[in-house]
């Protein structure tokens, strides 16, 4: 009994961590590596999640050959039944949702952010993207056909529902989420060590210098934004599949702030740091949620969901004041040239001092 509880806590923490990891990596790729002040991350995350819901709901109608309203209880039943009966629909729908969600999020990110990129003052760009995120949330909440408006789209089927047991299919889905997160991490890690990653850092440090070396800054920015938004969209699809429903009110700008805290806390411009920051934020999130249940049984009227945001806000302020580079600061890139000349340079300077 206790073991079951522990296993379920570990699995849910792990899955949320994997999703948060993808988001934090994508923000780190945009801000930490290329200095793009993306304060509207939740928009691209939401685009992925809504696309997943929309694709699955319409695909179920298409496969079953009926036209029921996708918000009705009948449609929920239909989706779950179809996923249980046909593995092709379940897996195919998932793959289609991943493709549609990430590409749509990438395109939205490319269009929106490249049109606002000419705003040079950072905080204005931040405000524009913040407003854009809230705008999309309000549109989705009040426009029924996207995700059933205020009530949200319920019953996104687990892609492994056909194996039978609900528990087992959750395990399979967790493995899948973890695999996607791991692939993202490996790719990002490789990119950050490649010449391309060093070019991104060069652009971040000094645009003019990078341009004088023949780098097309706007093109690189657009690439980074497309990839980063795609990753956020992918995380959104996984999130929608894992929790099983999408509602507009889930995607407030607080989510953006969470991602920023994870990145700033771990380390800007350093994927290992970002991964550990995401872990800390997930642990805070899960721990306060678990604590909330205990407090409710003890009749203590402190709402942990609010205390959680106080903790996160204070953490952010402390990091900004005392560790502006995060817990694991960005180190030098260990290229072969650095190994030779970097250490030699160091030795030489030591020698000169003494």
């Amino acid at each position: 009994m206790v073991l079951d509880q522990i296993v379920s806590i570990v699995i849910s923490t792990g899955n949320f961590y994997a999703i948060w990891l993808i988001l934090t990596l994508s923000l780190n790729y945009e801000y930490g590596y290329n200095g793009i002040l993306n304060f509207g991350k939740v928009l691209f995350f939401g685009v992925g999640a809504f696309a997943a819901g929309y694709v699955v709901a319409n695909l179920a109608n298409f496969v079953a050959g009926v036209a029921v309203d996708m918000c009705s209880a009948q449609a929920v039943q239909l989706r779950l039944e179809t996923a249980r009966a046909s593995p092709v629909f379940a897996i195919g729908g998932f793959l289609l949702a991943i493709a549609a969600g990430s590409i749509l999020a990438g395109i939205v990110g490319l269009l929106l952010t490249s049109s606002t990129m000419r705003i040079k003052e950072g905080f204005i760009l931040g405000i524009v993207l913040l407003a854009a995120g809230e705008t999309s949330r309000i549109v989705v909440r009040n426009y029924e056909p996207i995700a059933c408006g205020y009530h949200g789209l319920v019953g996104i089927p687990n892609p492994f529902l056909f194996v039978g047991d609900a528990q087992t299919s959750t395990y399979y889905l967790s493995i899948l989420i973890w695999a996607v997160a791991a692939i993202n991490f490996i790719i990002m890690f490789k990119v950050s060590r490649s010449p391309y990653g060093r070019m991104l850092k060069a652009i971040r440090e000094n645009e003019l210098a990078a341009e004088s070396f023949g780098k097309n800054i706007n093109k690189v920015r657009r690439q980074v934004l497309f990839i980063g938004s795609m990753m956020s969209g992918m995380a959104g699809v996984l999130y929608a599949y894992y929790i099983g429903f999408v509602a507009a009110d889930d995607f407030t700008s607080l989510k953006t702030f969470d991602i920023w805290v994870a990145m700033m806390l771990g380390g800007v411009g350093n994927h290992v740091g970002a991964a550990s920051g995401a872990f800390l934020v997930t642990v805070i999130d899960r721990a306060t949620r678990t604590l909330r249940g205990w407090l409710a049984t003890l009749n203590i009227p402190i709402e942990m969901l609010y205390v959680r945001w106080i903790i996160v806000g204070v953490l952010m302020l402390i990091v900004l004041m005392y560790r502006p580079n995060g817990l694991i600061p960005e180190g030098p890139i260990r290229t072969p040239a650095y190994r030779i000349f970097g250490t030699a340079n160091l030795r030489w300077s030591r020698w000169r001092k003494s």
């Binding site: 950072g122 931040g126 106080i310 996160v312 004041m321």
Partner: protein
Amino acid sequence: MEISAVELVSSLVRTLQSGSLYALMALGLTLTLAILKIPNIAHAEYVTIGAYVSFTLINYAGLQLWQVIAPSFLVGGAVAVASYYAVFKPLKKRGASMFILMVASFALALIFRHIIYTIAGIGNWGLGVKPKIVTNAVFRVFGVYISDILLMALPTSIIAMAALYIFIMKTRTGKQMRAVAEDPDLAVASGINPEKIALITLIISGGIASVAGSFWVIFTHAHPDVGLEALLRMIAASALGGFYSYPGTVAGAIIVSFSENTVMDALNRSFGLSLALKPLIPMAIIILVLVTHPTGLSGITWRRKRTLIARGV
């Protein structure tokens, strides 16, 4: 469906009513941005704090509305000064960029809002409760009601705006504030104490936002999110004014309020646009203004426009 004249006039009255309050809220945002170079998102929480000061004093101490103006001004100013000394000053000393200051103020706003949420949640009071104030219709001109709250809120905000304008333009301290806004280093070199200016700016901006909140709560209800709802409106007003101009901010607030009330009513009547999309208007204004014309109203050179129009271009 056509809009009748009565509905038009009453929507214009609502425009004035909320527009004057938006102007009060947004002026503080513009002041801190122009003088201290802090894009303060936590400014919205001063509105919430004012709303709660007014709500508690009216509902639990039985005060009248005019009696809560001074306490909410003081509390709002004190919180603003405290947030400056606790967060913004140390960050500025470490050379944080404006974007980092914005992120920090976002964190501060979260902390304030959720502290209010926690306190309101413990006692289970003040979550969506209306203040106990009876709104009386004083006049009824051709079917348009004018309430006594409006007759108090509108003159208060106009007097506050006028006093602020005179203070900034005519007094010695106001001149110093403008000097700091123009060039901080030069201002320090000519013997102005920047800390004093920061203190005055924050007391004024936090105070008037709080007073605006204490009126605003009468029209809505006491909830920790009232400031958040007003935040995008005041950013829109400030952005329309070009972020650094005081008359522009007031004009921007009136424009935001006008498009929220009158234009939204008209769209609802003629195209059936849902009134729930009302928050979309300030955001659309923010995005459009900042992407197409980042300097806002203050960036338009009126004289050149006039000559162009006179030439018939």
